[in-house]
């Protein structure tokens, strides 16, 4: 009986492992495909398309070189960095106090405030009213047009509120007994204890602002203000409309390679950041999932 159970358990484990392996391949194969496409040299591409495996000796960084040596690349990269840092700074500055306030159970009008916040989560104002607001505030051609409308994410605020609510009330009371006001409680007690959620929410905001694409197109009329995703898209549009690009804009890399390289370039910063905060990230994303 024990033996059968062991065999059954083994089969189950093999089944699970096989299932996970298939799931892993489903994720990895397209990703691998993107990587190979980005590095495939033009002569291989024009002869045989994108092979599944590419000899390491044949890998070419031509597509990356073409994108990264573009005259506007440094400027667009800088713009994206500015938008991301500014966006995260402003968002966190606004989200942390809001979440802290909402986590205080005896906050007067807490339910009403929460209701108003949830209302904005459920009902979006739509493109045109926001456009009117931004242009009315004379924020066209200003990064604040990109940063202010999404500066406070309701979802992020609620997640952070849940985290703050789970911190021991006694710590806050002890600080207040020592004469700390609410800002001091937040700064000296709550924030040092909230690294996981701050880094997690910070990453959420950073990814959001790093990938900003549509709002810059809408509100930034000065091309020198445009961020990296917009530049990369412009390059890719141009290379796929090659019949109108008479001047050999791209001649040493395949269009598909440029697209794949563009995808990888925009992923790299987030890939670099993630390992540093991974241990906090898992903890942060589980907040609110378990109620004691």
């Amino acid at each position: 009986m024990l033996r059968m159970r062991t065999r059954g358990g083994l089969a189950f484990q093999i089944g699970i492992a096989a299932f996970l392996l298939v799931a892993l391949l489903i994720v990895l194969i397209p990703f691998w495909r993107v990587i190979v496409t980005a590095f495939v040299p033009l002569d291989v591409y024009t002869h045989e398309g994108v092979p599944f495996f590419l000899s390491p000796a044949k890998w070419s960084i031509e597509a990356f070189k073409q994108l990264m040596t573009h005259s506007q690349f440094p400027r667009a990269l800088w713009n994206s960095i500015v938008i991301t840092i500014m966006g995260v700074a402003i968002s966190m500055t606004l989200t942390i106090p809001l979440a802290y306030g909402l986590s205080t159970r005896d906050l007067p009008g807490r339910k009403l405030i929460m209701g108003l916040i949830l209302f904005t989560y459920l009902f979006s104002p739509g493109l045109i009213p926001v456009y009117l607001l931004i242009t009315g505030m004379k924020l066209t051609n200003n990064y604040l047009a990109i940063i202010l409308p999404p500066a406070v994410s309701v979802y992020n605020t609620l997640v952070m509120t849940s985290f703050f609510e789970e911190l021991p009330v006694e710590l806050k009371e002890a600080a207040r007994l020592d004469g700390a006001n609410e800002l001091q409680v937040l700064w000296h007690v709550i924030i040092p204890l909230s690294k996981p959620i701050l880094l997690t929410i910070g990453l959420f905001y950073a990814v959001y602002f790093w990938n900003q694409f549509f709002t810059p197109i809408l509100y930034l009329n000065k091309n020198e203000l445009l961020p990296l995703p917009v530049l990369l898209r412009n390059i890719l549009i141009s290379s796929s409309l090659n019949e109108y690009v008479e001047y050999n804009a791209f001649s040493t890399s395949a269009v598909e390679s440029l697209k794949a390289a563009g995808v990888l370039i925009t992923m790299i910063p987030m890939l670099l950041v993630y390992p540093w905060i991974q241990r906090y990230f898992t903890k942060g994303t589980l907040v609110g999932g378990v109620k004691e």
Binding site: N223, I237, Y247, A249
Partner: protein
């Protein structure tokens, strides 16, 4: 130590915020095309305004990735000094994103003074919407203010009719970017290798395609070629099979060939015959089997890989130096040759449908209210006259020279400063939007003859391909832009497209009965009402008797 770190971070973030907020202001200040000179510019013949007029212009880029002209672009200075205009030029993205940007600005009554209509479907529909909302102004009076431009750019009455509503012209229809530029081409080296002639009928097309598929035309000893390559682009099976449908006189969606029998082409008995020919080609296995799902990029990669020998392609996409180079490298002995339209059983031999995808510029009502019409006309006329070469090619002597026949030459020009060098593209971003009007000198400058690097072949894109394509018998399809989609829109389109594909791929047998069922299905989705509405619109526009 921690306090120091905190202080540094705070300063860094604050400075970033301040610098970012200041960016726009500084940029706008910098972009003013120069402070007024201490010495006033020479008075012009025309009366100049005391203060420069600011004109905002939104237009797409010609080379999207090259970015805008720099703030110290000489054209800004000239426009400021000679025209009394401060030009604020913004590049807008093409297609959907550009359309959304324009629509958002329109909804906020914040349209720029002069702008290019951007649309994913039909620019005329967007123009009409702006007209109905009162956001754009008639431009009839502008034509007299810009005689040269009107003669060169706005000389096609049909195009002017298409942008006219209630007897007034509301759009400036720029000449289509090189008309009739696509065509039917075949691998000449494959024909020679198999001792074949180019096909002249659908039957011969099948024979040649079979030979290309089965007789190893590239001589590499492998079964790795197909006769025909294509992908779906346009309604139904798309225009990449124009050479089949043209032989039956049923090109595209509507019958523009026979005005007395204007209707959907699928009503024509010849369409059934064309479908049968398509089925024969598919059943014979002579079309690259991935054609229903191929993208344009994949299609183009495949002809460069020598996958097939018969196709419909854009002349520049085929012969442009950067596009042709991979093919030349792979097949130094290879060559494509243009082929005339195939002749069908009833003697019809139409090449393609010419829709004239022209671009439309409009002037906002706000600009008119602010009295900017005359300044806008002045700017446009300058672009068509004194500013033509500057905005189209750069500065004479620095970026190009003119030969004795008025053709552009690069003799004596630094290659890095040549008008066609990548570095120079930001300076001529308006060329395809507001400058070019398709003169021979212009097209020759854009698509010059050249010698290929590997095979050393002399390529003559215009003489060999474009001129040939343009000389064929095209069906005029401008009127298509007047026809609004049916009420059932997406459903109709899906049924129409998928039904044709199902027949061709053998998922549904093509018989008179199944074809009648297909037509009845279209009728159920409002095909008859669609045809009646289209007929009425075209009659109103004087395009049908």
């Amino acid at each position: 130590m921690k306090k120091w770190k905190l202080l540094i971070v705070t300063i860094l973030v604050t400075s970033l915020i301040l610098s970012a907020c200041a960016t726009a202001t500084e940029t706008m200040e910098a972009e003013q095309p120069g402070e007024p000179e201490a010495v006033a510019p020479e008075p012009e013949e025309e009366e100049m305004p005391a203060e420069p007029v600011t004109i905002t212009l939104w237009a797409q880029a010609t080379v999207t990735e090259s970015g805008p002209p720099p703030n110290d672009w000489i054209a800004y200075d000239i426009i400021h000094d000679e025209l009394g205009i401060d030009l604020e030029y913004t590049i807008i993205p093409p297609a959907g994103d550009g359309e959304t940007k324009l629509n958002a600005a329109a909804a906020a009554n914040d349209l720029p003074d002069l702008f290019q209509i951007t649309s994913t479907t039909n620019g005329r529909d967007n123009l009409y919407t702006y007209y109905e909302l009162g956001l754009i102004t008639p431009v009839d009076d502008m034509f007299a203010m810009m005689p040269v431009r009107t003669e060169n750019h706005y000389n096609n009455q049909l195009l002017l009719d298409l942008v006219s509503f209630d007897g007034s012209v509301y759009g400036l229809p720029e000449p289509p970017i090189i008309p009739k530029r696509e065509g039917f081409v075949i691998r000449q080296d494959w024909l020679d290798a198999l001792d074949l002639e180019a096909p002249t009928t659908p039957e011969e097309l099948l024979d040649v395609a079979v030979a290309f598929t089965t007789q190893d035309p590239d001589g590499n000893g492998q079964d790795d070629t197909y006769g025909i390559g294509a992908f779906i682009e346009g309604p139904g099976l798309g225009r990449r099979f124009n050479y089949v449908f043209g032989a039956y006189g049923v090109l595209d969606l509507w019958n523009f060939i026979d005005a007395d029998n204007f209707a959907l082409n699928v009503r024509d008995p010849q369409y059934y015959e064309a479908m049968q020919t398509m089925i024969d080609l598919v059943d014979a296995g002579v079309i690259d089997p991935d054609w229903p799902t191929l993208s344009k990029d994949e299609f183009r990669a495949r002809w460069k890989q020598g996958r097939f020998g018969i196709m419909w392609e854009d002349f520049a996409a085929l012969t442009n130096k950067s596009n042709y180079a991979p093919f030349d490298e792979n097949f130094p002995e290879g060559s494509w040759t243009p082929v005339p339209a195939l002749t069908g059983p009833e003697g019809e031999a139409y090449y393609g449908l010419y829709e004239g995808n022209f671009q439309i510029f409009a002037v906002s009502q706000r600009a008119a209210d602010e009295g900017k019409i005359e300044a806008i006309a002045r700017l446009l006329e300058w672009i068509a006259t004194d500013g033509y070469y500057l905005l189209g090619f750069g500065e004479e002597g620095a970026n190009f020279n003119l030969d004795e026949n008025g053709f552009l030459t690069l003799d004596g020009i630094d290659p890095e400063q040549a008008y066609n060098a990548p570095e120079r593209q930001p300076f001529t971003q308006l060329r395809n939007q507001l400058v070019f009007y398709n003169t021979l000198a212009e097209i020759s400058a854009r698509y010059p003859n050249y010698t290929t690097e590997v095979s050393g072949k002399l390529m003559t894109p215009i003489d060999t391909f474009l001129s040939f394509f343009q000389a064929q018998d095209w069906v005029e399809g401008f009127a298509k832009k007047l026809i609004q989609p049916p009420e059932t829109g997406a459903d109709f389109e899906r049924f129409y497209n998928e039904g044709l594909l199902q027949f061709v791929l053998g998922q549904k047998e093509l018989t008179p009965e199944t074809w009648a069922e297909y037509l009845a299905g279209l009728d159920n989705l409002g095909a008859k009402e669609y045809e009646e509405a289209a007929t009425a619109v075209l009659k109103d526009a004087g395009m049908l008797p």
